[in-house]
């Protein structure tokens, strides 16, 4: 069994905690990392205590969780770190796109009216997504029982689709013409 001085021990434990893919306990450190060394659990604990102090005011902290010790980032900077990791939300559902289209073309419109046209209920999740995306907003309440919210599109919606006004939305054919044309030639959409 080799001996190891306090500084080397601390550095070895520090490195181990940084490369381990799960929290490490004093026992794991003693039995695996330090298997070749003559080191007491007390010395390992002391090294960890010193490390916790060393990382008191740094970008990461050494914390004890249920399954051992690990280095982790501070809660306060999670939002900033979020900029490094961007996740793409899944593509929007057909239901969401239909709802958005109805709000754009028939605004101001209530959720009940959207449901009436679509023939199915509009989930709160869809309204929440569209509102959070800042594409639609509530512009008033309809004076009918329940005073339902009336939705309309926003300036952000127009900006996203590079429109100056709603009048620049593509014109839609009446249903009779639509089905006729669909059977003949594909409709040419003008992309904005």
């Amino acid at each position: 069994m080799k001996t190891i001085d306090d500084l080397a021990l601390k550095k070895l434990i520090e490195a181990a905690l940084f490369i381990a893919d799960k929290p490490l306990t004093v026992a794991t450190l003693k039995e695996h990392l330090l298997v070749d060394y003559k080191v007491s659990s007390a010395r390992i604990k002391l090294a960890i205590t010193t490390l916790i102090a060393d990382y008191q005011d740094r970008g990461v902290e050494l914390v004890k969780v249920a399954s051992g010790y690990r280095f982790q980032t501070h809660q306060a900077i999670s939002a900033d770190l979020g900029h490094l990791y961007k996740e793409r939300t899944p593509k929007y559902s057909r239901a969401l796109l239909e709802t958005l289209a109805l709000i754009a073309y028939k605004q101001p419109i209530t959720r009940g009216e959207i449901e009436e046209i679509r023939g199915v209920a509009v989930s709160s999740y869809i309204m929440k997504t569209l509102t959070e995306r800042n594409w639609v907003k509530i512009v008033g309440h309809k004076e009918v029982p329940g005073r339902p919210s009336m939705y309309a599109t926003t300036k952000e919606f127009l900006d996203y689709f590079s429109l100056n006004s709603l009048a620049e939305l593509p014109e839609l054919m009446p249903i009779s013409e639509l089905s006729l044309i669909d059977n003949l030639t594909p409709i040419k959409e003008t992309e904005t």
Partner: protein
């Protein structure tokens, strides 16, 4: 062919010292420390030996080093003889690999034949027939050494380990919202139209959309004015927009009144019409 356990790679990377200590191969329990001087390889050992070398150039380099042959003065004849012997044996074992060794044997035989030609027929300035082989051997040896050097570089997960921390519990990756194209939007609406009676014979025209947009704008305007509740009718019009704009605003107001979203009040005769959210 009996299976032979490979002990070590004899060729090169560990250097001569190691080669002399570790057996080249174990054949029926007997360790082959080095090849016999006449370069004869027992047929059973051939497969193992071939696996130990990276190809004919590697084997040739080994033979040259092992026999202390001068690379500049290759004894082509014995090497060629040995190669021919290999090729015979290889036919049954590893044809693909044998092919490469056969090429080398052919090269060696060609060099040998040229060296055996009467001297006087060799023209002045003609390249030594061994030169090309020497060049290839050297080129290969350089790469062989380079590969060993690369292997000596600090490697991730072998010599160095990436240090990582974990995120605090409250970490959330930033979400990038999905993209939507105008096409998707229009197609979605067409889907609704096809399913719905509400749109039948409804032609959504630009004028109608302008009115709808204005309806939204008026509602927003009236919402912002909650303090005073009422907004003067005239203030809802922007004269700079011209006649068309005024018509759009008027249509929007009529539509809003029709849908009972706003109400108009005239407190006194000839007084201002006041508008407010209902």
């Amino acid at each position: 062919m009996s299976v032979i356990s490979k002990q070590t790679q004899p060729a090169g990377n560990a250097g001569e010292m190691v080669q002399q200590v570790l057996p080249l191969a174990l054949i029926r329990g007997e360790a082959f420390i080095k090849k016999p001087h006449d370069l004869f390889i027992p047929p059973d050992a051939l497969e193992v030996i071939l696996e130990s070398f990276e190809g004919p150039l590697d084997l040739l380099l080994y033979l040259i080093r092992k026999q202390k042959f001068d690379i500049l003065d290759l004894p082509i004849a014995p090497i060629t003889t040995q190669y021919m012997h290999y090729v015979d044996l290889m036919k049954d074992i590893k044809l693909e690999l044998a092919g490469e060794y056969l090429v080398m044997a052919a090269i060696l035989a060609e060099i040998k034949s040229r060296l055996l030609l009467p001297k006087q027929t060799v023209e002045q300035g003609e390249e030594d027939p061994r030169a090309e082989l020497v060049r290839r051997l050297q080129e290969y040896e350089v790469i062989k050494a380079a590969a060993e050097n690369i292997d000596q570089l600090p490697q991730v997960d072998r010599d160095v380990h990436i240090a990582e921390a974990v995120f605090a519990d409250n970490f959330q990756a930033q979400l990038i919202a999905a993209d939507v194209s105008m096409n998707e939007l229009v197609n979605a609406l067409k889907g609704v139209i096809k399913r719905s009676e509400a749109f039948e014979h409804h032609h959504i025209r630009k004028e109608m959309l302008s009115t709808r947009e204005r309806m939204t704008a008026i509602l927003l305007r009236l919402r912002q004015a909650t303090e005073q509740q009422f907004v003067e009718f005239s203030q809802l019009f922007t004269l700079e927009e011209g006649r068309a704009g005024i018509v759009v605003t008027f249509l929007a107001l009529l539509e809003l009144i029709k849908e009972s979203m706003i109400e108009c009040v005239q407190a006194q005769i000839y007084g201002q019409i006041q508008v407010r959210l209902k």
